[in-house]
């Protein structure tokens, strides 16, 4: 009976490969969690609420937006709407990963959707796209997602407990940008992907004034479109 729930060799190796893929990113995630803990407290959230937000919301940038709006006594509907718009990029992740998860039972879809953060998605995407088709490959995404989840909870707790002792001069918040830089460079292997990144960066800078961080979506959309249109510049281009 319990055999069903026991990870087979495939599942276990996929899971561990996911954990390994996520592990180096934690160097950037831990300082981010510590800083969020401090930020939540200074925005006036009780410590338990700061820790609870890491499992209820589970998204660094959305949690920071939540703390800022809570501190500014923003009406609830505005807060929820703003967090939603800030998070819309996750719909792109959802779309990109959907075809690989479409045959899974619902409990898996719900669990993996909950765990679908920037870092978990980007770390797992190469496995889905370039790795072998296997009935156990969703365990890889579970590995990246649950690793990030567990460490994020601990880092937030650490931030609430000891974060105030970290001098602001250490600029630990920069670790988030550095994590994304590492992920960006690793996600670029074709010329068209590089061009997509440049176009997205340019549009992000030009449209930065848009409210509710809508420039993220605009820039991402422009970059994706540019990537597809410029595919012919890829070396040895052999796509359809």
């Amino acid at each position: 009976m319990s055999v069903v729930f026991e990870p087979g060799p495939d599942r276990l190796s996929e899971f561990l490969a996911g954990v390994r893929a996520e592990a180096p990113l934690l160097l950037g995630v831990v300082p981010f969690g510590l800083i969020y803990g401090v930020m939540g407290l200074s925005a006036g959230m009780p410590g338990w609420a700061v820790v609870l937000s890491s499992s209820l919301i589970f998204g660094g940038s959305s949690q920071i937006v939540f703390a800022q709006l809570w501190g500014a006594a923003t009406p609830g509907a505005v807060t929820v709407g703003t967090v939603g718009v800030v998070n819309l990029r996750h719909a792109l992740y959802s779309a990109a990963i959907a075809r690989y998860l479409k045959d899974l039972p619902w409990r898996w879809k719900l669990l993996l959707a909950y765990l679908l953060t920037d870092e978990a998605f980007v770390a797992a995407m190469p496995r889905f796209r370039d790795g072998p088709t296997s009935a156990a490959r969703h365990w890889f995404l579970f590995g990246t997602g649950i690793t990030l989840w567990a460490v994020w909870q601990l880092a937030t707790l650490g931030g609430v407990l000891i974060g105030a002792a970290i001098p602001p001069g250490w600029s630990l918040d920069f670790s988030v940008a550095l994590t994304f830089i590492a992920l960006l460079v690793l996600s670029v292997s074709r010329r068209s992907e590089l061009l997509a990144a440049f176009i997205a960066a340019g549009v992000a800078l030009a449209a930065f004034g848009l409210p509710h961080k809508l420039w993220i979506l605009l820039a991402a959309g422009a970059g994706m479109l540019a990537g597809v249109l410029l595919r012919r510049f890829d070396r040895g281009s052999a796509h359809e």
């Binding site: 919301i57 920037d118 997205a200 004034g209």
Partner: protein, 107 residues
Amino acid sequence: MSEWRIVLAMAACGLITFLIRLSFIAGARWLPNNPRFQALLRYVPPAVLAALIAPELFMREGEFALGLDNLRLFAGLAAIAVAVYLRNVLATIAAGMLVLWLLQWLV
């Protein structure tokens, strides 16, 4: 009472976040199934990440900051160089932080 308010607000934000992440995982059959659209999705990681990073490096408090005093720009460029040559996440994050600390100490 204010305790319930914050829990409710967080739960609502968590729900909307979860639903956005679930959107196409749940509704995969509504996604166009043509190769062009699939190709578009290939560019999600580089496009989203570049969009998130660019303002972090090139702007300070909503204004363009291209001067020598924008230490994060130089630390970020150093991190990009390390990432390109070593293709290693740990080294990239560590190098970027170290360069930023070094510049802060020098300036």
